[in-house]
Symmetry: C2
DNA sequence: GTCTATACCGTGATAGAC
DNA sequence: GTCTATCACGGTATAGAC
């Protein structure tokens, strides 16, 4: 923090703001906090942005655009539903890691302002589209039918989103490593020998 | 909301406060918000509690005591590590649903006050004890060894914790139903036929 | 147990000099 | 682009009557 830049731009200010928002929470962050972290005074901030809420709006919009971008990629629109579902899980996870501060902020929005409520609405839209994908994969018989599609997609994306709570770019795991582990957990499960519950022949490898 | 009680007690006030905290966020909630929701004035609140932070402290303590209680139950202390791990997953999920408002609040704490930092420290302690359990299960060869124990427990408890983001007591799923679905997903995975990647004979059932 | 009235401070935001 | 000075408002919390 206090990464002073002699000349701030809206972009450099945004980076500082998002970082502080994610530490203290949006509501818990004052303009004075932002000013200290940016190395300038409160007033100077208003030269770059119209206010605190605009910083939030830019940040969550960036996160949402990234997530929706995934849904438009060929891997998410072509092929079997189960493959598209797996693709979206993996890519969403990578996108989350790539835009970590922005997505983190997005996922913590509560809905106290217009900006926040609009962000929540877009998030719901995203979740809905993913739930449709899970439903299609189940209908195809490629995902277990004993789990409700809505519940399934909620669990899976709860898992994906939870990554923001602990992932750090300078930590031991790379983004792709997390995406692989997560995908593998979701599709294959954690148990070492699947026949531990019911007697069954030995399953073949479950490579990524 | 505005569930007016003619006579408030610290307990009734806590229930109101936690509900509002979870909607607006702790920092986003003013004493005026609490007063309106409780149907009394700001001043009256101070007759029951010393202030806003005490309400938070009582709530998160209740959540943490519940979670640590799970770790002391026989199912979490006796038997094979993999079974204890599975037990803790399931029971934690049930505890989360049972104490939903308190756990929700706990999981959103940011660390801006002494109370919050102490809660975060206890949470880290809990996470650490669960990670040890996962490590033991992997060492026993009962959980896949290709996933790091720390990463595994982070993913699994990220998944468990994410339930607070969507679960509602009056919704379609019961607490045990969610706990079962979640445990099943974690241990067995989502794929209908594990050999779906390579051509294989007909798969056995994938019962719960 | 709840009220009105109030103290006191930090908040987001603006004006205008340099 | 940044500053000092200032504003109006809402924040937590207290005093004391009923």
């Amino acid at each position: 923090m206090v990464k002073r830049a002699d000349r701030h731009t809206p972009e450099s200010l945004l980076a500082v703001a998002v970082e502080v928002f994610n530490i203290r929470g949006y509501d818990g962050t004052s303009m004075e906090d932002l000013a200290k972290a940016a190395g300038i005074t409160k007033s100077s901030i208003y030269h770059h942005v119209t206010g605190k809420e605009e910083l939030l709006r830019i940040a969550v919009t960036r996160a949402l655009d990234g997530l929706f971008g995934v849904l438009d990629e060929p891997g998410a629109t072509e092929g079997a539903a189960v493959d598209r579902f797996a693709y979206v899980i993996r890519r969403t996870c990578l996108e989350l890691v790539d835009k970590l501060p922005y997505v983190t902020l997005l996922l913590r929005v509560r809905g106290n302002t217009v900006t926040e409520r609009e962000a929540l609405a877009r998030r719901r839209d995203f979740d809905h589209r993913v739930a449709d994908l899970a439903a299609a994969a189940i209908a195809d018989g490629d995902l277990r039918a004993d789990l409700d599609p809505r519940l399934t997609s909620r669990l899976v994306f709860g898992l994906v989103n939870s990554v923001v709570e602990w992932y750090r770019p300078d930590g031991p795991e790379s983004g792709p490593a997390v995406a692989d582990a997560l995908s593998s957990l979701v599709l294959t499960g954690l148990r070492a020998h699947q026949e531990s519950v019911l007697p069954a022949p030995d399953p073949p490898e479950a490579g990524s």
